[in-house]
Amino acid sequence: MTTEPVEAFRARLSEFLTGHGPGPRPRDPDERFAWTRAWQATLFDHGFAGPGWPEAYGGMDLPFAHQVAYQEELARARVPGPVGTGLGIAAPTIIKFGTDEQKRRWLPSMLRGDRVWAQGYSEPGAGSDLPGLRTTARREGPDYVVTGQKVWTSHAARADVFFTLVRTGAVADRQRGISYLIIDAHAPGVEVRPLRDLTGGHVFAEVFFDGVRVPVADRVGEENGGWPLVRTSLGHERAAGAMNQAALYRRVLTELEELLRERGALADPLVADRVAGFEIGVRIMRYNAQRTISDILAHGEPGPASSISRLHITAFEQELHEFAVDALGPAGLLGRNSPGAVQRARWLTGFLRTRASTIGAGTAEIQLNTIAEQVLGLPHEPGMPAAG
């Protein structure tokens, strides 16, 4: 780990960001994807990728205080985040449970953005009920033969690799019959059908596996031992990332306030009262992140504020975007191709897009169950598997 003082590190990073910014964000989705990847490579090549990762796999292995500074500076510089969900979700699992060989093979190219990773957990028949998943992996010599279907895999259309949960045991075993498998998206038998989401864009997909051969060496953890791996994450890194999200919404809210002021909408006391409510919400988002960070620094554990952040944020972003559309009145209904569209219809798109906030990665209802059972210790429903 570095011995560089935090502020020196911050200055060095800030200087780098000023000098190597990724340039303006392209509007075309394909160009934007390439731009994001290029930026990820730039970070990597300059030693500024993976703040919490081991150095052996291209990371920076920063102390926690430095990670917080890193996230703050990146938020300030408004650079794009990583592409795909590999860095946030798969990497922590591989770092913790993968073999050295797996780490060497997968992590650096993921961190540089050379290979895009996408998640394949959910299935058409088991959206919130992951333990009920049915995509099977049958052992055949050195391989698993994988057959089944996944949905809701963000970035699937551009993915090079899927990290998935598959059934290696009996369906009745539920979570005790599940393994964690890394599948090459370009292998024979993999078919990706992009799905349009309700905004009309293509950010998720269905993925079909039809007898796909996956080397047993690409399983992370034990056979039938995949379930406990799902809930791994670099808690500390995620906590620092929460700061980033608070900074993002701080900016978004300020932009909305400017827009409403320009349009004279803030003169309506009801609008002003709602805006004050969002000011409260966005600050609490930051306080929650800050409290989690404080708890890690003081006690080594993220503490209670970390488990509730997501529910607070998802409610915030849904309400904020709907409020924006409402406050704009009929002009808020205009699509980006319309004359008079407000800010390329960002609020309208956000209103639709954030419908996913309470659905994707476990519905709000499932998260409330988890808090009720795991945090508050309320009994689970008879006949139901325990939450989580």
């Binding site: 949905v151 409402d326 009145g329 209904l333 004359p339 419908r355 309470t358 006949g383």
Partner: protein
Amino acid sequence: MSLSVSDEQEELRALVRKFLGDKASSGAVRQSVESSGGYDREGWPQLAGQLGLAALAIPEADGGAGAGPVELGVVLEEMGRALYSGPYFGTVVLAGQALTHVGDETARRRWLPAIAEGTLTATLAVTEDNGRWDVAPETVAEHDRGEWTLRGVKTYVVDGHSADLLLVPARFADGVGLFAVEATASGLTRTELDTLDATRPLAKIELAGTPATRVGDGDASGPLEHVRDLVRAAVAAEQVGGAARCLEMAVGYAKTREQFGRPIGSFQAIKHKCARLHVEIECARSAARFAGSVAGQPGTEAAVAASVARAHCSEVFTHAAKENIQIHGGIGYTWEHDAHLYLRRAKSSELLFGSPREERRRLNRLLEMTGPNR
């Protein structure tokens, strides 16, 4: 006054539901959503003409069936359920009622029979750039040598890009008048807008010295206010239909979709969401029906009932549409599923024709709760 649905109205409902089920199925709606500019050109003549739905609320003297706002509400509730996207709303609800209540003999005789037959489509262009549906127009009418011309911009005009006839409120020295503009008039520019809800096409209408015919005489502000209340009642009925359809979809899905080995509708969280929506929707239905049943008589009671219905039905429909997506989970978030079409229609009909906030403000004015500027 009865708020019950009569047997006759029930027959009308069944007729419309069957027709829309056949002709304006989800697939047909999607076709109109994905294509731009057009509308249900095939279904419309049948619906308007053979079924006689265009004639329904037009006075018998003008070639119509002389039914009232309640019957119109029955039709619109069904159209709301089906997200019908043809020119009924612009032609019958907006223009038909404006001509009926503002029009002079000449105007009525000239256009109402054609609307009733389904051979003329029309609309009413109220809103201007400020987005308000309830204020006096900035658009100006000029009178010169016996001819009227209009100058101004109207926008968020339902079916404005396709209607054969545009009715345009505009101001002049004596107050506000209603003017008719033919689609073919000179100095008229119509631009279809890209909006959230493609099932209700909106257009921007630019009038640059466009020749127009005056409709009615005297200040039209009062009669137009009455027309607005008729429209409020009609939209409220449509919203009830949309909301009820959302709940039906959600309940249907929750009964069959299984998770954790049982139908998701057996979970209390889902049950209570649905039950709460049911309560809201039945309240909305009561409000819309009452608004319809008093809408025929201009005055404060009709105005109050119309604003009550609009404020409540708007919020209920949007809520139902959001919960429907949530209950459907991942599948409800896809483009292919119809759930988002209802959310789009809900939010769009919430903000057009007076938002809930505006309706509550108006209610306070009507009830003299607060001063005129609140």
